[in-house]
């Protein structure tokens, strides 16, 4: 008889590894939320996106190769989800605010909002290819190679996008350039959204803190 453990790896996942998988998913939720929020620049909708990613990940868990980078795998799903949704949402209306209303949970972690709000705003003003590369490598700590897999492009492309993104971010923050709104939704809506969101995030201690 063949060793079962060898078969488990290549064929179906067992219920034992389902449990492990779920634990791993849960442990990576904070990163999914961070990626979702920095990618979208919104609080509302970002948690929806992270949750949809979890569901998708669970449904397609058999295609995850154990031992590979689960975080990168999840980020790939989230990213695909984000872009397909954004394409839809921008054509119709902004995020489903009714659903999003259930997801408010502001924490005290964003205290230095004054300084960070500029960065957040500038980040959203970047072309999306530069933004995602910068988030993955510059904020998320992914290696260029990992980021390239997530984005599905060449490593050199990621490198140049990160470099260009950094330069553009700096130019925006130093005021050398106006925040370009050209590729954003109607008339600076994105920036306004981010700003209002940061206002709400700002100091606001206590209140609706969750466990």
């Amino acid at each position: 008889m063949m060793g079962r453990s060898a078969m488990d790896r290549t064929t179906h996942s067992t219920s034992h590894s389902d449990d492990t998988f779920k634990e791993e998913l849960l442990s990576l939720v904070p990163y999914l939320r961070a990626f979702a929020r920095s990618l979208s620049g919104r609080h509302e909708g970002a948690d929806d996106l992270a949750q949809e990613t979890l569901v998708k990940a669970w449904q397609s868990r058999s295609s995850y190769l154990p031992g590979t980078n689960l975080k990168a795998w999840l980020f790939t799903i989230l990213r695909n989800q984000f872009y397909s949704e954004r394409r839809r949402a921008w054509r119709q209306e902004p995020w489903d605010s009714e659903k999003a209303a259930n997801l408010h949970s502001y924490s005290e972690s964003q205290t230095a909002a004054a300084d960070l709000s500029d960065i957040a705003r500038a980040l959203q003003a970047l072309p999306s290819e530069q933004r995602e590369a910068l988030i993955l490598v510059g904020a998320g700590g992914f290696a260029y190679e990992e980021a390239a897999k997530i984005i599905n492009c060449a490593v050199g492309t990621v490198k140049s996008r990160v470099a260009r993104g950094r330069r553009a971010l700096m130019a925006l923050l130093d005021g050398d350039e106006q925040l370009p709104m050209s590729d954003r939704p109607p008339e600076g809506e994105a920036a306004r959204e981010i700003l209002s969101q940061l206002d709400r995030l700002a100091p606001h201690h206590g209140g609706d803190k969750r466990r």
Binding site: R33, S38, Q51, L54, W58, S105, I119, L123, R210
Partner: protein
């Protein structure tokens, strides 16, 4: 600050410091969310996933 009039080396130094500060800011933005408590919805979702969204297999 008159960064434009500064000599090349100062300008380069400024740019480096600036880049580092911005890089740090980016990480703080991201880490700020990472360190937030995870909303209950996520736990609920993963629990729910167990019961319903898994037709292949039921808990034994």
């Amino acid at each position: 600050m008159s960064k434009d009039k500064a000599p090349i080396t100062d300008k380069a130094r400024y740019a480096r410091l600036r880049r580092e500060a911005i890089g740090q800011g980016l990480r703080r933005l991201y880490d700020g969310v990472v360190h937030e408590p995870v909303p209950d919805e996520f736990m609920d979702l993963l629990k729910k996933i167990d019961e319903s969204a898994d037709p292949e297999r039921s808990p034994s």
